[in-house]
Symmetry: C2
Subunit: 274 residues, 2 copies
């Protein structure tokens, strides 16, 4: 991979990378499309990264279908599909990690304390393997996007980090490889996540400045669905990810949530400027 990227760079080609865990959906394909427009050569990586799953999370049952992924990435405009083996990425004796401090204390980092260390370590490695000029990550993982931007800036990665918008099903459910876990009842109730974000948006547009009132309205709507178990509903500063008490005019907020439907944990978010 490194030799290929060196060759491309020597030839003056701009390299774009789209890191994924595979089992691709329209959301991933839209990221590949963005990379396609920003680079001469698009590398899609597929690696289900064990270090970002805690014990008891869904690493072993995470859906995998490399045959289907290969066809999808090619038709979406990928030039190189990079699928390293776990033993290549984490050989025996591996003991180095990359960690972002402040931003990872909140939201997903609070619910999944070792998650982001796994993410930043593997993304650093994938950047060093693929040597990209640009990398594209989805807005759906809003905190991940911010954490990776911070890592890239702090470590002087010469990589432009681009965000791709959330892609949704017709009924509003954000696309996710984990949606296949949902039972038909859970699937039918899951659009409430997007509905609660739209409700929050309406409140903000109506001038609501009290974060607790927004969270309260969202929580009420979500819990009206019997399968939904809230992990968190958050109104936070979009840059620092710190929880807000009061929204300020002109200061971007990230409204985000994590909700379980049975054993399936889904996340979604929206950013707004009051």
């Amino acid at each position: 991979m490194q030799a290929s990227s060196d060759e491309l760079r020597r030839a003056g080609k701009r390299i774009g990378v789209v890191p994924t865990m595979g089992f691709l959906h329209e959301g991933h394909l839209s990221l590949i499309g963005i990379a396609r427009r920003r680079a001469d050569c698009v590398i899609t990586t597929v690696f289900v990264n064990p270090t970002q799953f805690a014990p008891g999370e869904d690493f072993s049952r995470y859906p995998r279908d490399l045959g289907r992924d290969s066809q999808l990435v090619e038709s979406a405009g990928t030039d190189i599909l990079f699928v390293p083996a776990t033993e290549e990425m984490y050989p025996a004796g591996a003991q180095t990690s990359v960690e972002v401090g402040g931003l990872t204390r909140f939201l997903e980092g609070k619910s999944r304390p070792t998650h982001f260390r796994g993410v930043t370590t593997i993304v650093a490695k994938l950047f060093l393997c693929t040597k990209p000029h640009v990398a594209v990550f989805g807005q759906k993982d809003a905190q991940q996007l911010r954490v990776i931007r911070q890592m890239a800036r702090d470590l002087d990665f010469d990589v432009e980090i681009i965000a791709g918008p959330i892609v949704r099903e017709a009924d509003g459910l954000a696309m996710s490889s984990r949606n296949v876990y949902l039972s038909s009842k859970e699937r039918a109730e899951s659009p409430v996540l997007h509905e609660s974000l739209l409700l929050a948006r309406d409140k903000v547009l109506e001038g609501e400045k009290d974060a607790a009132a927004i969270v309260h309205a969202m929580t009420g709507l979500i819990t009206s669905r019997p399968s939904a178990q809230i992990d968190y509903v958050s109104v936070a500063d979009s840059s620092t990810l710190e929880e807000l008490d009061t929204l300020s005019r002109g200061r971007e907020v990230l409204i985000s949530l994590a909700v379980r439907f049975g054993s399936t944990r889904l996340i979604d978010n929206i950013t707004l400027i009051p």
Copy 2:
């Protein structure tokens, strides 16, 4: 710096980097000489890295003389001198670190618990700034060399790590920027460090297999100098850095020490294959 390295790489040039904290001596110049032979373009970096000093260590008084360093690196064959400012390397809000686990629990890492996190973070950053093919580090910092090799391997840095041998004064004292701290009495007693390593070598050559006996002999010699205060004397496996009880034929050992002369802490080491 990154744009220069990109240009050099596009032109097919091989880049060598020698990271230093400045106040250069013959030891550093020998590393530049090694880089010169292994690369088309040699970058020497000078950065006194605050994050590898603990509070109370000698960061603020660490010797600096950039004017002299500039002349020395040029005559030694450096093409580019990279001297970033502290605020460039650690801008406000920086919160990312690179950490090697296992190897850093021993020796220097035990005496200086936050030291290697600072080292690996800055070396990762300097690699990402200078984009080298090869990097040269001195054997004097034996553990640092191993920790950086581990980091480079674990994170997939496409950088060959080369070790430069220890350069010594005529009386055996390993060259170090910190030697200028020594009073004339301390300086006169400091060759005992090298003498103790030669004593250890003789013991090993004579067939001594008991690590404690080697440490005991070294300790006796070092403490015969009134200014010397031992921090540690260690006989360890050269790869894992774990302390050894018994030396094994054919298995490389790292015999290393850290000793204070007044407020000046000096380190030295030797590797041997029994």
